[in-house]
Amino acid sequence: MRSTSSQPDLSKGTSPAAPAKWAAGGARPRQARGLVARLWSARWPLLFVSPFFLLFAAFGVYPIIFSLWLSLHSWKGVGEMQFVGLDNYGLLFRDGPFWNSMLNSLILFFIYVPVMTFLAVVLASLLNAGFLKLQGLWRALIFVPYITSMVASGYTFKLIFDQRAGIANHTLAIFGVSPVPWLDDVWWARITLGIMMVWAWLGYNTVIMLAGMQTIPNELGEAARVDGATRTQVFFRITVPLLRPVIIFAVTLSIIGTFQMYTEPVILTGGGPIRATETPMMQIFGNTFAALKFGYASAMSYVYFGIIVIVTLAQLRLVTRKEG
């Protein structure tokens, strides 16, 4: 999940080590004996990292290759696999529910991520205010949804937004508003899911923004204030631009998170009404475990992965181009 954050560190963290290693070892590997000796002298660190690479080979690399192989076959999980070439991919391009689920993810992204990201930056700057008392308490209150099981909170939201029994509509009724079909209308269901996503992830995003903000020296804002800038100006002209890398990081995580959403819609809406909140993960899961179309589900997961990569790269491209 945090791959995007780690990439910059990669160059920072390992490149100093690599030249040092060559320098220490003198010339590049000379003979086989030299290599064996070097491996033997590095036996401890190699042993220490080996569990990861062995487990990753078995439960990461092998499944990925197996999945590609499966995607060229028709297989119900038992009996003979039947080679079908690219048929699964051909079928997939005409699979309405799958593309509908991709579109749902995109719509959901635009419903909740801009609001949530903006609120997170505002909230972080409120929490970062010098005069604020009990910063830890406020942060904890905002963060607590993050530790909750999405199954538990999904059912709680389902109860709150129930059209007849929910407290949301009961409260609105006091003000004379007629019942809102929170979970029973195509667009309202997406909005309600969006509200729940903001509730669940705002705290996490705020904590990330706050940590980023604390690396910005306070003096910058204070100097601007002395020069007569308003708080709003400081926020938009100093805080937001300096926080840009952290904001980009958070939005990238939100893109990936939105496309991988599963538990929330399964519990809150069951994907309905009329597939309006069905996500790609629900499609893949259904094709695997309900329809037992293992080959087809593999093809689907490959196309899905490809689209996430393209969308993420496109977003990064878009924001880095603006920088120039």
């Binding site: 945090r2 401890w44 660190p45 499944p63 109860l159 007849r164």
Partner: protein, 288 residues
């Protein structure tokens, strides 16, 4: 790790600055209320009889009852499922944290052939979404390992975790080399140095990572749904999903009681170790 904790207080300004204070506190109160309300509603509803939940006219329960909790533990063998969840979360966390510390230590403090390549390779592996491996992983668990309906699919495949190794490496790079060299001069083996020196002084990072792992295991839903089939192997989130109400209706009464039960352990951990959890989450994003 504690970088989130405090900011230097700004110099006090005049009373004219009362407005930003009022705005800030009222905004924080509103947002906190939005965040906390679902928990309050979960709690009060869990003490209401089914009919009262559905009439939805009162805030506090008119006829408070613990019947929902009683039927949760009677109907669905909740203790068994809490134990399953706890066993899986504890075992997978302990194993993962140990292996991540081991790997992170090697990447932080050693030079070895392939260091740079292996590290990049490991980081790249984090970009693979679970969906891509889910289908074949399930087939492996079922056809090769025969691990369906056991806790093993939830413990073994994720045991060495790239994020965790990266996380531990970040922390362990800051450990002083002199300490390790002194132990080497004394003739301690590398594994003894790791167990005796490196692990004990890395406890803050181990706790941070441990909470993150424990939490994601405790709340995990997708993969357990796939590999745990029989009722007595289920974890708490699967139990909630399986609770049945009157025909055609959701069993909100027992569900709210179950939700409270599922939340309590995480809440206890959060209240005691909040600083470590938030420190852990921001490590990957800002320092990186």
């Amino acid at each position: 790790m504690a970088r989130v904790a405090r900011t230097a207080p700004a110099a006090p300004r005049g009373t004219l600055d009362l407005v930003p204070k009022i705005v800030t506190y009222s905004a924080l109160i509103m947002i906190s209320a939005f965040m906390v309300f679902p928990f309050v509603w979960m709690l009060v509803s869990s003490f209401k009889p089914f009919e009262e939940i559905f009439s939805g006219t009162t805030f506090l329960p008119k006829n408070p009852t613990v019947k929902n909790y009683v039927s949760l533990f009677e109907q669905s063998d909740a203790l068994r499922k809490i134990w399953n969840s706890f066993f899986i979360a504890f075992t997978s966390t302990a194993l993962s944290v140990f292996l991540c510390a081991l790997g992170g230590y090697a990447f932080a403090k050693f030079k070895f052939p392939g260091h740079g390549f292996l590290f990049s390779f490991m980081l790249a592996s984090m970009a693979i979404p679970f969906a891509v491996v889910m289908v074949p992983l399930f087939i492996m668990m079922r056809n090769y390992f025969h691990w369906i309906d056991t806790p093993l699919p939830l413990i073994v495949p994720g045991a060495a975790n790239a994020f965790g190794i990266f996380f531990m490496r970040q922390y362990m790079s800051t450990l002083p080399d002199e300490l390790l060299d002194a132990a080497r001069v004394d003739g301690a083996s590398e594994f003894r140095i790791f167990m005796g020196i490196v692990l004990p002084i890395s406890i803050p990072a181990l706790v941070s990572l441990g909470i993150i792992f424990f939490m994601s295991s405790w709340n995990n839903f997708l993969w357990p749904t796939a590999v745990l089939r029989s009722a007595d192997q289920q974890t708490v989130p699967l139990m909630l999903r399986g609770l049945q109400g009157p025909p055609g209706r959701t069993a909100f009464d027992v569900l709210m009681a179950g939700s409270v039960v599922s939340l309590l352990p995480m809440l206890a951990i959060f209240l005691v170790l909040q600083r470590y959890l938030i420190g852990g989450i921001t490590t990957g994003s800002v320092k990186g």
